[in-house]
């Protein structure tokens, strides 16, 4: 399937800038060369003691001009290069985000291993260097090569050819040899290094286990052995780099000698003035500085391959198939009992895409736009700035000075969102999106009338779902009725189908059989409106690196400060926030490290209280908290969500006594269901489990 690369399209899009950069680079090199050339000419000419100083006036001006302009040109060239690259990075980021966004709900299960998202972000940073370190210097060298040969050709064709041959060693032969010689060592080293990286991470994370096993020496020895292998490879590479530098310098020497004999010969037969000998000889040194670094620049190319591969993989359509196959493989391995986790939630992109194409985009974005003005108002900025924003001017605060609010679409942008144009979705060969545009626009119109419901009646009717192909069903024949205000608890082992059930309710998956309806509409068709009906508090809600207020505001961008305070108060955050010196403007810091686990859940709770949906999904929100914090958090959650429908996935029975229904899932089925009292009465198994949570009755 066709796919766009991560390098070429950006060259095309920034061709003008690229040409400018290369042009500046060539001028820089030319200025440096001309400085030496004119200097050589100047002193030779002066040595002839011309009668009139005006005869050397031109070279004097030339020397000064070239001397100054080389520095200026180089400065401008570097700035232009970085500017272009930063522009490209900005585009790449948006593209990567837009590629990942549709599959947001399945990313976690798909890339459980490692922090793939962080890696991808770094990959983009890496690609900057392709341009800065390899593409630009390489292109400049090629242009200079052509220019030098052309210039020499005007003097002497045969000599121009000889020089062309000599320079080709630096420009073509050495880089190619370099690449050939080192590519394998580099590849080996890279693999060894990443293996070592894993090994060390593994060891540091399992440090306690190593220490208590009494086998630390074994590990240290094997680690040193691995390091020694890398060091050997590194030594080979470095030796080659030194040899290459030496060979390069010998080419320079050859150039000087060649130039010397040629200009001497030319002078001897009278076809050239002797004043040019020094000029031609001296110009060799600065010229060679353009060609010498090419080998090193080219040699770096293999380093970018991994980054490129990863990005291509993410954006390629092949991912769908891979995901299907993976899902199938995982699911096959899954069985009763403690099933392997990765099976649950392994995802189908086709389905996600199809559902997402339906549903109105226009409506949300229209609201966004009208909200934008209000949203653009930073929490405690003077009202005048807010006024300006409201009128649709650019955001009043300089972007750098303002804390970048995470979800604060500027008014101007809101307008373009209204037109629906601001959104460039990567349609990059997504089969699921084949029907898109027209259908989507049509349904957008239909969906434009979507009004946030105050009540939602969720019905699951004999719902079954499997992750593609002949995989075992993850959810089988589940029937659930959740009228507005009903509270149910869902209990089951990992792999029992809890997450799949939640995904079905959120419309992320389309059932193979049966139907999930919210107020009579299939959940999948609600598409982007789902967050207006259902809010989610999961185990580790992401808190963004911005202020507390902005984090809460994410629940509803148009919320006033009063509403934010109110939500925080409900979540019992008021005392904590009051104790912070900057109050609501306190930055959350990266992943909210400033706050404890319980406090972070409360911030997230305030956020979904602001989102104010009729249905709330709680996906093990208290796991990892100590019992007292857990009790207090759950109490707050239960109090603040009175009247809302609640779907609470939990691993303990504590607190489920108050739920309207408790559901035990196993192998995708509901094994036991009923109220606490009913279950206690009917199932010895339930009594036995309940005993674990309440082992010691106290009078």
């Amino acid at each position: 399937m066709r796919q766009e690369g991560w390098l070429k399209p950006y060259i095309k899009a920034h061709l003008g800038r690229f040409i400018l950069i290369i042009f500046l680079g060539v001028l820089t090199a030319a200025a440096a060369s001309m400085l030496m050339f004119t200097s050589g000419y100047l002193i030779s000419k002066s040595a002839l003691r011309p009668e009139n100083i005006l005869l050397v006036y031109v070279p004097i001006v030339g020397v000064r001009t070239f001397g100054i302009s080389r520095a200026v040109l180089h400065y401008v060239e570097r700035l232009a290069g970085h500017d272009a690259v930063l522009r490209i990075v900005s585009r790449m980021r948006v593209r990567l985000y837009n590629t990942l966004e549709p599959d947001a709900l399945s990313l976690r299960s798909q890339y459980r291993t490692g922090d793939i998202l962080g890696v991808l972000a770094e990959d983009i940073e890496q690609l900057q260097n392709v341009y800065l370190r390899t593409a630009f210097p390489g292109a400049i060298a090629v242009v200079m090569y052509a220019a030098v040969i052309a210039a020499l050709g005007r003097f002497d064709g045969a000599f121009a050819l000889m020089t062309a041959g000599l320079l080709l060693i630096l420009l073509g032969v050495l880089p190619c040899v370099s690449l050939l010689m080192t590519a394998r060592t580099q590849e080996r080293m890279k693999q060894e290094r990443s293996r070592l990286y894993q090994k060390l991470t593994d060891a540091v994370m399992g440090l306690g286990t190593w220490v208590i096993s009494g086998r630390t020496r074994d590990f240290l020895a094997s680690y040193e052995a691995d390091e020694a292998r890398i060091t050997r490879a590194d030594r080979t590479l470095k030796r080659w780099a030194r040899i290459r530098a030496l060979l390069g310098q010998l080419v320079v020497l050859g150039g000087v000698l060649l130039m010397m004999s040629w200009s001497a010969g030319k002078t001897a037969d009278g076809s050239m003035s002797g004043t040019l000998i020094a000029a031609f000889v001296l110009v060799v040194f600065p010229l060679m500085d353009v060609f010498l670094p090419v080998s090193e620049a080219v040699e770096k190319l293999p380093r970018y391959r991994n980054s490129l591969d990863r990005l291509n993989e993410i954006s390629s359509a092949g991912r769908e198939e891979a995901a299907w196959t993976a899902g199938r493989a995982e699911a096959t391995a899954t069985g009763p009992g403690e099933a392997v986790v990765s099976a649950e939630g392994a995802d189908t992109f086709g389905v996600a895409d199809a559902t997402e194409a339906v549903g109105g985009v226009g409506a949300t974005e229209a609201t966004e736009a009208s909200d934008a003005a209000e949203a653009a108002r930073p929490a405690h900025k003077p009202p005048r700035a807010a006024e300006a924003a409201r009128q649709g001017y650019e955001r009043p605060v300089a972007a750098v000075a303002a804390p970048p609010a995470h979800e604060r679409p500027g008014a101007a942008r809101g307008a373009s969102a209204l037109a629906g144009a601001g959104f460039v979705k990567p349609i990059a060969a997504r089969p699921g999106l084949e029907r898109p545009r027209a259908a989507r626009e049509a349904s957008a119109l239909a969906g434009a009338g979507f009004v946030k419901p105050t009540a939602a009646h969720i019905r699951l009717d004999q719902v079954s779902f499997s992750y593609g192909g002949n995989a075992e069903a993850a959810v089988r024949g589940i029937t659930l009725d959740i009228p507005q205000g009903r509270r149910i608890a869902v209990i089951g082992r990992s792999g029992a189908g809890k997450s799949t059930l939640l995904g079905l309710i959120q419309g992320a998956f389309t059932p193979d059989a049966g139907a999930v309806r919210i107020n009579g509409v299939a959940a999948g068709e609600l598409g982007d409106h789902i967050p207006e009906v259902i809010s989610v508090l999961n185990q580790r809600p992401h808190l963004f690196d911005t202020s507390v207020a902005n984090n809460i505001r994410l629940g509803r961008s148009e919320a006033s400060n009063e509403e934010i305070c109110q939500a925080a108060e409900q979540a019992q955050l008021a005392a904590l926030i009051a104790s912070l010196s900057a109050g609501y403007d306190t930055p959350m810091r990266e992943t909210g490290q400033r706050f404890s686990g319980g406090e972070r859940q409360r911030v997230a709770l305030a956020r979904i209280l602001l989102q104010d949906t009729p249905v709330v999904i709680l996906d093990e929100p208290a796991v990892g908290l100590d019992p007292r914090t857990e009790r207090e958090l759950m109490r707050t959650i239960m109090e603040t969500t009175t009247g809302k429908s609640l779907i609470w996935v939990t691993h303990h029975l504590a607190g489920t006594e108050q739920m309207d229904e408790i559901i035990f899932m196993e192998d995708g089925r509901i094994e036991m269901r009923g109220t606490h009292e009913e279950l206690m009465e009917r199932y010895p198994r339930y009594r036995k489990l309940y005993q674990l949570d309440r082992p010691i009755p106290v009078q």
Partner: protein, 577 residues
């Protein structure tokens, strides 16, 4: 710069070699210029090329000698850097294992791994770059300048004056740039983190219905980031601009002044040409230092960070001579006593354990219960030898020991934390981690005993299936079963458990509890948890609060007493209501 390099082991001969090579190099630079100028000026004077072969060959030799010295300088520096880097790494690794998991948890796994892998590389690069430059930076320009003075005083003066101006400007611009960068550091960090932050929070954004519009936010913030970066770069690049500018200007001035004096007849071509060739060489070392400034700074910082860890005080010494004899083993008559034990993690902070007295005899099962922060984990860490008590005594079979961090003691214990670490390796290797010599049959027995049998049957690779970070991820319950299998296989007499089941779903917890009780048969067990259901199965219950032992007794005794234990039970009961 580079003063700390002089403290490195084995640096003296290296420096001596560098000094010798630098001297040869400088001489060959001067001779190369001299002979090149001679050849060119002779050719200019109209002498035939053939007569200049001699000088040209001399030039060739000088040029080659210079490049060869560069080669050797680099190779010596690389070798030394490799040795020093390897030594530093091995010190660092040893230290990390001494400092143990608590330290690793505090510093962050990612940071430590990056420091070991990237830090050593950076430090090596730093040595490689700096060693040849340190002497060349001082030697070479002075010698070249001296030679230029012998040829032409005014050129010498121009060059002498430029150098300090150049350096002062570089420093001034550098300081200005740093000030500007520092002023914006916070903004920078936020801006550059924004993207990663957005990707990580993608799921949350989707839940909130904000993921679509957020794309614009990314674009805008990236734009701001570019503006901010370019603003800083404009200043930052000024530093190398100053370097370039003054070098080029200086060379141009020398050329023009030479030209003018040649026209006046105060000078002849040969010395003029020599000076012109030497002028760029005079600036070369300074320019090199400028070019590698960032690499050297990075390396220097990495070196300092590593040295700080190596010098830090560790609570355990890997090579400490043990109190227990090498063949010691915990028997069914053994006992362990802690008395007056205290642990203080950080200066100034309150103690995590205070005056703990505890007696443990073989075969006893002790349950430690209390709120989080009561000191349960700290006590387990002391018993496992991860922590050295700050006060109090430890006595094993009547022998006083400063701590339990001896390998001999560790070999008696099995530690099962809340989330046992699964290594990125095969299932078999993971199970036999504590007993690498075990046969496959023994592994199979242990796996069956831990209830992992059905799981293994479903794995395509069976016992050879890769699990852990690089392979198949296991659920929390399965991880705990792997830990159990390890314990069954290694059969160590003392088992320490830290909150082994609290995070599991209730059914898995129920099954695992049954397995664990089986494992505990005939073993000495210390189990820290806040799950009360374990307590009736324990021989002795220790209730902890704020680092102190509140109560000790059996389940029945403590319930009767209606003290702290009773309070905990009561509190959990209230949670249900």
């Amino acid at each position: 710069m580079g003063r700390e390099l002089l403290g490195l082991r084995g640096i003296r001969p290296v420096m001596a070699a560098m000094a010798g090579l630098t001297l040869i190099q400088t001489l060959s630079i001067i001779l190369q210029a001299k002979w090149l100028a001679e050849t060119v000026s002779a050719l200019f004077a109209g002498e035939p090329l053939q007569e200049q072969y001699g000088t040209a060959v001399l030039f060739l030799c000088a040029f080659t000698v210079r490049q060869i010295t560069v080669y050797f300088q680099q190779s010596i520096a690389a070798k030394f850097a490799e040795l020093t880097g390897a030594r530093m790494r091995s010190q660092l690794m040893n230290k990390l294992f001494e400092l143990g998991p608590r330290y690793a948890g505090k510093e962050g796994t990612g940071n430590l791994v990056t420091l070991v892998l990237e830090g050593v590389t950076k430090f090596r690069t730093y040595i490689e770059l700096l060693l040849p430059r340190m002497l060349a930076g001082g030697f070479t320009p002075v010698l070249i300048l001296g030679f230029i003075y012998t040829l032409d005083t005014s050129s010498g003066i121009i060059l002498t004056v430029t150098m300090p101006i150049l350096i002062v400007f570089m420093i001034l611009v550098g300081l200005a740039a740093r000030k500007q960068t520092e002023g914006q550091l916070k903004t920078y960090k936020v801006l550059s983190n924004h993207f990663v932050d957005s990707l990580r929070g993608l799921e949350t954004l989707k839940f909130l219905g904000r993921s679509r519009t957020h794309s614009q936010s990314i674009e805008r913030v990236s734009g701001s980031y570019r503006t901010a970066t370019m603003k800083t770069l404009r200043t930052a690049f000024l530093s190398s601009f100053a370097l370039d500018f003054f070098t080029m200007l200086s060379v141009a001035s020398v050329a023009v002044s030479l030209g003018l004096r040649l026209v006046n007849g105060n000078m002849v071509l040969l010395p003029a040409l020599t000076v012109l060739i030497l002028a760029p060489e005079y600036f070369l070392p300074v320019r090199m230092v400028g070019a590698d400034f960032h690499a050297t700074l990075d390396g220097k910082e990495a070196g300092e960070a590593m040295q700080a860890i190596i010098n830090s005080h560790s609570s355990e010494e890997l090579n400490e001579k043990g109190v227990l004899e090498p063949g010691y083993s915990w028997s069914d008559r053994s006992s362990l006593a802690l008395s007056g034990l205290s642990v203080t993690h950080e200066e100034g902070a309150g103690p995590s354990l205070e005056g703990v007295d505890l007696r443990l005899t073989a075969g006893m099962k002790i349950g430690i219960i209390g709120e989080s922060g009561a000191g349960k984990s700290t006590l387990i860490d002391v018993l496992g030898g991860f922590l050295r008590p700050s006060a109090g005594t430890v006595e094993v079979d009547g022998r006083m020991m400063p701590s339990l961090s001896e390998t001999v003691w560790r070999n008696q214990t099995m530690y099962i934390p809340q989330q046992p670490y699964i290594f990125s390796s095969t299932l078999e290797d993971n199970v036999k981690f504590y007993s690498p010599g075990a046969s496959l049959d023994e592994v199979k027995q242990a796996v069956e005993a831990a209830g992992l049998g059905p799981v293994v049957e479903r794995l395509p690779g069976g016992y050879k299936e890769m699990i852990g970070g690089g392979g198949r991820r296991l659920s929390g319950g399965q991880e705990q079963r792997v830990a159990l299998a390890r314990a069954f296989l290694s059969d160590r007499p003392v088992i320490l458990l830290d909150e082994p089941t609290a995070h599991l779903d209730i059914e898995t917890e129920y099954e695992l509890k049954a397995m664990m009780l089986e494992l505990f048969e005939g073993k000495t067990v210390v189990l820290a948890t806040h799950r009360l259901h374990w307590m009736p199965d324990m021989d002795v219950i220790v209730v902890m609060d704020h680092g102190r032992v509140e109560e000790v007794g059996t389940h029945e005794e403590l319930l009767m007493k209606q003290g702290a234990y009773y309070g905990l039970v009561k509190e959990q009961e209230e949670g249900a209501a």
